[in-house]
């Protein structure tokens, strides 16, 4: 077929081509346009890269901070909760116990904190130009993932050193499912983060309470002590915290200690789905509205 023929065929179809964009009053579907988000994957990659390049500019130690933060926290925990208070750690060496909890917690808490202040940190950009708003939180989850990877490899090295020095503990084969745990925490952080962000755009109180909530939440998430340290009669209460099963399961995968009852996972998964739905819905509405409010 000649090129003129194809042109003739194509031309009317362009004439009647559907509209590319339809601008309507706020709807969920317009804010959660996933194909569009995929088209902007290059932008997501740029955001991730920028996080790396910019965050530690003009610091002496650079990305080493990613290792130093959990390391120093872990050291303080060993001294305070190990040496002073002697809190039980299920027979796992203290540094490994704390590090395993801290890396996982840092992933959740870091993502949650960033996403929950999305409008205040990105308001300037959102007010000037359109791009799929979800690109920013998704990029945040990805750049925190790299941080998590770096911290985990450090923990693995420490684990190996312990094993070579005669530690009896070995990881469980279930460790291959660890990425699912991260995915779970990512979804949870996204849901809670977006929900808090939607509240924070109207109520400035929220941005003040977030650090406080994060701190309290950590104490209730078995980072410092194992589930077996909690008296059985209080266990029902813990199912309100969907972070716990992830932390406990992660330790089970790593060290073969601790158990999580299935019903417990059930409740947590249900909570996560509800929180994600609430977070995305509120984000869909507020992201098309907040420019008018701030």
């Amino acid at each position: 077929m000649s090129s003129t023929a194809t042109e003739k065929i194509r031309f009317p179809s362009i004439e009647e081509s559907p509209w590319d964009t339809e601008i309507v009053p706020p709807r969920i579907t317009t804010a959660l346009n996933l194909p569009e988000l995929l088209r902007y994957r290059h932008l997501i990659a740029m955001f991730v890269r920028r996080d790396f390049v910019v965050y530690y500019r003009q610091t002496v130690l650079g990305p080493l901070w990613w290792l130093l933060q959990p390391l120093i926290t872990c050291g303080v925990f060993v001294i305070v909760f190990g040496v002073f208070l002697r809190i039980y750690t299920d027979g796992i060496p203290r540094p490994l116990f704390y590090l395993s909890g801290l890396t996982l917690w840092a992933y959740f808490a870091g993502s949650f904190t960033h996403i929950s202040s999305l409008f205040s940190s990105q308001g300037g950009l959102f007010g000037k130009i359109y791009f799929p708003r979800l690109a920013v939180p998704v990029a945040q989850l990805l750049s925190n993932l790299m941080k998590f990877g770096l911290q985990t490899s450090f923990m693995t090295a420490l684990y190996l050193i312990y094993v070579l020095n005669g530690l009896e503990i070995r990881p469980s084969w279930t460790l291959v499912f660890a990425p699912l745990l991260i995915l779970y925490l990512a979804v949870l952080a996204l849901g809670f983060g977006l929900l808090f962000n939607s509240l924070a755009y109207k109520y400035r109180d929220m941005s003040l309470t977030t650090p406080f909530i994060i701190q309290m939440w950590m104490f209730l998430s078995f980072i410092i002590y194992p589930m077996s340290a909690v008296p059985e009669k209080y266990h029902w209460f813990l199912c309100f915290n969907p972070v716990i099963p992830a932390v406990e399961t992660f330790r089970y995968m790593l060290f073969g200690t601790g158990t999580v009852p299935p019903w417990y996972w059930g409740i947590s998964l249900l909570t996560t789905v509800i929180v994600l739905a609430l977070g995305l819905t509120s984000f869909a509405y507020t992201s098309q509205r907040f420019i008018d409010t701030v």
Partner: protein
Amino acid sequence: MLAIQVSHLSKEYSLGTVGHGTLQKDMQSWWAKIRGKEDPNTLLGSVPTVPIRDRFLALNDVSFDIRRGEAVAVIGKNGAGKSTLLKVLSRIVAPDKGVARLRGKVSSLLEVGTGFHPEQTGRDNVYMNGAILGMSRQDIAKRFDEIVAFSEIEEFIDTPVKRYSSGMRVRLAFSIAAHFLAEIVILDEVLSVGDAFFQKKSMAKMETLLRNEGRTLLFVSHSFGSVKKLCQRGLLLEHGRLVLDAPVKEVLEAYLPPAKKAAS
């Protein structure tokens, strides 16, 4: 063929405070309402039972069509709804009523230099900005040299943007925007960037980009010179309403008489 179709578009803004801004006070008011008590947060002197509805329509039932390749100026006084219209069409704020349909990609140049990160180099910012504008890496790489050359900052392209003078920053930003122009262009007073020399250069660039490549333009400016130069058609807005849709000369005349009378 239509590039933009706007039908019955309305956008409402509230004047007073909607909530109290803190969760505690909103909860207090809500709790008082539930118990049928007086709201402890109502202002003294205001009538408590009548809800205050200080709202105004920044856009009031606006409808128009723009054909592909047309250059249209939006004209009106401050607060007439010009910027709101452009913001709705740029998808920065959502309308309250009505629909706007667009055919083709939209470049919205409401403010140049958006999304520049001061710690990143000029080069990184070109790529970042291009990505925000929806360009792929290859697209950006292809036009990179041209962008840098037009902005006249070759020597500083690998310097963090925070060390740029404001003129350099604006030049780079304009150059990025101009080189990634899509089929539909939404402009809000961005032509007045940089020094007089660069202004002339950017105006000329815009003219060629718009004339020669069949782009559709929606333009807000208080500079009648550039409006007349770039646009054939004008939309006159008054208090959120579209009051005149005519050739740009007529629209400017309709908008101007009071000033002319005052001058004569």
